[in-house]
Symmetry: C2
Subunit: 275 residues, 2 copies
Amino acid sequence: MVADDRISIHQVTLPPQCTTPQFVAALARHGLRCTSLWREKTREHGVAATAKLVADSGMRLSGYCFAGLVTSPEPGERAKALDDVRAALDEAAALGAPCLVFVAGGVDARDKDVRGARGRALDALGELVPHARAVGVKLALEPLHPMVCANRSVLSTVGLANDWCDALGADDAVGIAVDTYAVWWDPQLLESIARAGRRIISFHVSDWLADTQDLRLDRGMMGDGIIDLPALRHAVEEAGYDGYVEVEIFSQRNWWRREPDEVIATIKQRMRTSV
Amino acid sequence: MVADDRISIHQVTLPPQCTTPQFVAALARHGLRCTSLWREKTREHGVAATAKLVADSGMRLSGYCFAGLVTSPEPGERAKALDDVRAALDEAAALGAPCLVFVAGGVDARDKDVRGARGRALDALGELVPHARAVGVKLALEPLHPMVCANRSVLSTVGLANDWCDALGADDAVGIAVDTYAVWWDPQLLESIARAGRRIISFHVSDWLADTQDLRLDRGMMGDGIIDLPALRHAVEEAGYDGYVEVEIFSQRNWWRREPDEVIATIKQRMRTSV
């Protein structure tokens, strides 16, 4: 079971029509004190206004999500993408977030060699490290599920995230985000988590529904699917992680259609019984 | 480029309403001499009738697809599943297919530990080897995409298929089917293919569409997506594979809506330009 003071709820988990002030107020109403903010929503409300809202409410941030998409083989596009990540790092610093979730980017039809895209993502990270260090926000490399490898992220396993961390040699500025939904199926997951150790700076939970209907927006509430969440939580804790357990559920057909209060109450209950 | 005499077209690639006799006739009309038959369709037409049709038409089989789903933790269900695989091996032998595609089965909600499901699948394979050997049909272990790990197959990588082959020690009765659609994203793919070597007894092609809309039935025609198919074909050939290149496209929104002749003509053309 996860105690309330270790719960973080990612902003995307509540219905999209919920504004940032409404979202922060809903968390506070349920006695929760931590969140991870969604960049799109933050920009909608304004970075400075969101930073003030967070500070005034006494809310803590477990992360800021997301930036990246740096795999273009075209130099102009690549430079623009890197500038955007630097801007996101600045935003994360202004908000007081300890890390920025980094989503590598997909395969480019102009260069179908997925190893090429991986090489470009790693090169980009090397160029981004100095800025992350300067603003004091870590880049959290988040492996995404292989089903979004083509269009979202060529970083598909915790093992590969470890390889990238080894290559970068910048553990003060780069860490790993372990999202149970993205990595539960990996035959090498437990050894990769142990290898990651204290590089794990972010831990996300949701569940994989047996009848999943969408490649991105059909995540389940913890306990409603087939992921052995307690085992994965124990594995990251065994590796040294003692931070927040962040709930991140994109759910077009179910949770996004419910009232924020019902979603939050359900999360608090499931964190006790199913994580 | 793949010459016509190395092309095999899997029966599922043509529209579902196409009967087995119509399917075999369509291949023959285009000068193609090899196919992989779908078990459901074969039973619909009758195994003996299909065997006669195949023999009379001079068609060769690259495989028979599929059986498995042996991960239940309940002994009665498990025994029934194993008997069904033995029946499928018998059918494959009657048809003259060199191998039966083996799909492991998913995670069972009654035991969410995916390692448990993997252990049960491997145990089941050990029990099936004698029957495969007796009827002279190899079990082709096919890793499926991690997006169907929950409900179709806990065998998610070529690396894990290699581990299972090592554990079984039965290379005369068990091999590996490499399906480009299922494995292209794997950071360890090339080393796993090299390790598999002559264990690779089946090679499937289709393409991953950038805007994929379904977890199972939205595969693309070779050349329409982002998989580097020539590189993967070279990799399996480098490992020692010199068999058929089998086209397997489940495509509800596109190819299943077209005329069989158009689908086959397109495949022949794309095998020259995009594989």
